[in-house]
Amino acid sequence: MATLELIHVVKKFGDFTAINDISLRVEEGEFVTLLGPSGCGKSTLLNMISGLEDVTQGEIQMNGKVVNQLGPYERDVAMVFQNYALYPHMTVEENIGFSMRLRKRPKDEISNRVKGVATMLELGHLLHRLPRELSGGQQQRVAIGRAVIREPSIFLFDEPFSNLDAALRVKTRGEIKELHQRLGVTSIFVTHDQEEALSLSDNIAVLSTGKLEQHGSPEEIYSKPATKYVARFIGSPQMDMFSGDFLMIDGIPVYHIGDAEVPLPKKIIPPTQPVDMGVRPEFVMLGTKGFQASVRLVQPVGPFTYVTVDWTGGSVTARVNGVSHLKVKESLQVEFDPEGILFFDRETEKRRDL
């Protein structure tokens, strides 16, 4: 187990800056996810941590020691690749045991350890199969087995679920979480899937085009996004954003969105710079209080129904428990729960607590 620290890390490919001054600390045994859309540099950052990609500027430290110059193996990291990268000509047993074979461990030691790992990952009956004879989920477990047998200081996962179908993805996610709880090894996980990030991680680092937007616990990232970017990226359906204006009506602060007036708690002091307002669907209430709107779209998703309503100059999506009997064009009233209202500086896009 190890701590990992990135200190002002930069990666350039020619003139292109892939990673722009990222600093991040990962504690011993922590499960951290690098989350961002494709092209944000999260895989590059993972490859830099692994030692497969060198660092242009800055330092990577493991257990307080600089590892910039060390190769992947010397860093004692193990990696699960997006497409698994199983050795096609080797059986499951040989794939899992390959790193031990390289270290010239005795045959029966290798065989015992491989069997142990394979049993843990429910691969015991597949030891003599070739990768091409396995299902996607099984191949994935072999890739994990190859990493587990190393007993590394840090596990690195590069989008390991992206080739699995939805059902298997959720199942494997649970398995990875259990594995981490059991082994307690520091883990860095790369994904573009917010649900994976939220469900697996102790902490999430949200990246956008080579920059670190926010680093925090899943709750923080979800309910206190540091920037508009994070607010929009996390949560499905997306947080609705409004570019409105503050007004004081009878000593009460009100945020104007088109025709609608959203009353806010008295303690809020309207700022001098313009701010945007954001609200998630679960904080939008439909009923008989608030401003007037009409239903545009009703989307049931099982436990909830997402209802999108329109008014002159705005639209918002609300989450309704269970099945909704609202009809399109039906008119109703909309209220925002002040607890869930967030403000973002229009210029800097940073969150502002008013």
């Binding site: 692994s50 497969l52 190769g71 992947p72 193996y73 990291v77 193990a78 990696m79 690749f81 997006q82 497409n83 698994y84 990268a85 199983l86 050795y87 096609p88 000509h89 390959f98 790193s99 390289l102 270290r103 070739l130 990768p131 091409r132 004879e133 396995l134 996607g136 191949q139 190859r146 190393r150 080739n163």
Partner: protein
């Protein structure tokens, strides 16, 4: 209607395939038949193909040392073997470098390699002969191997480069994370998964060299006559020993046919499949 049309389509496709096969195999069949009859049956008008006349005498006669078939087989074998071995050794290294290393001038090198293939043989035949005779390399194994290498190597490099590019980069990254040195990566991963394509390419080079006639006839005299030349020499100024000529041709084809069968199996074997889940 659509049903009928599909059957009709299938019928025409099969007819075309049968026609093509007959056109391709007809001469081969005629060659085998010819090799089994004595010259007298073949030269009579019309040819007397009475099965009672079938004999293996042609096959026994062609191994008469003065006919040069036996030494031709040995020469061809030496030349084809060396050419394909060197082509593989040099070609695979070059192809791996061209596929994996991001070196300056990579495209220029690739296009230059390809450009060597653009001249018809006849264009370079005379200058090549002059150079080879100045270097005293006419009628030597070494000379012919060098000439064949210059034709085979570019093709080998292009074929293998395509293969190496199809090997996923992640495999090499995975070995690096597992703690393998570049040499170990080559030994345990790259080499084993490359064996089928290497073998197939080697067989291809061997067959090409084995069958080559044009440069062999220009660049050999007595010592290094290859099989195609030996076969051609059954056609003399006054007589052509059809039976023996075709018996030799049948014998010379056997290694090629065997290799072609193996070649086909290896080409079809998608060994890298399963490495990566796409």
């Amino acid at each position: 209607m659509a049903h009928n049309r599909r059957y009709l389509n299938r019928f025409f496709i099969r007819l075309a395939l049968v026609t093509f096969t007959m056109l391709a195999l007809g001469p081969v069949l005629w060659g085998v038949v010819t090799s089994l009859f004595p010259l007298s049956s073949l030269t009579s008008q019309p040819p007397d193909l009475n099965p009672a006349n079938i004999t293996l005498e042609n096959y026994l006669l062609v191994f008469d040392t003065s006919r040069g078939l036996f030494s031709g087989l040995i020469n061809s074998f030496i030349i084809a073997l060396f050419t394909s071995a060197v082509a593989l050794a040099v070609g695979s290294a070059a192809a791996y470098a061209l596929a994996r290393l991001n070196m300056p001038g990579r495209n220029l090198i690739l296009m230059t390699i390809l450009a060597t293939q653009m001249f018809p043989g006849i264009v370079i035949a005379i200058p090549l002969f002059l150079v080879m005779s100045r270097l005293d390399l006419v009628d030597t194994h070494f000379g012919l191997i060098m000439v064949y290498l210059s034709f085979i190597l570019p093709i080998v490099i292009w074929i293998l480069k395509g293969f190496f590019e199809s090997v996923p980069m992640e495999l090499e990254r995975a070995t690096a994370v597992d703690g393998a040195s570049p040499l170990q990566t080559f030994q345990f991963i790259v080499l084993p998964i490359s064996l089928p394509p290497l073998f197939a390419t080697g067989v291809f080079a061997f067959i090409e060299t084995w069958n080559e006639f044009f440069f062999a006839i220009i660049l050999t005299r007595i010592n290094v006559k290859t099989v195609p030349i030996a076969i051609a020499e059954f056609s003399g100024q006054y007589t052509t020993l059809y039976g023996q000529m075709l018996a030799s041709a049948v014998l010379a084809s056997i290694p090629v046919v065997i290799l072609a069968i193996i070649f086909r199996r290896f080409i079809l074997e998608g060994f890298v499949e399963g490495a990566i889940k796409a």
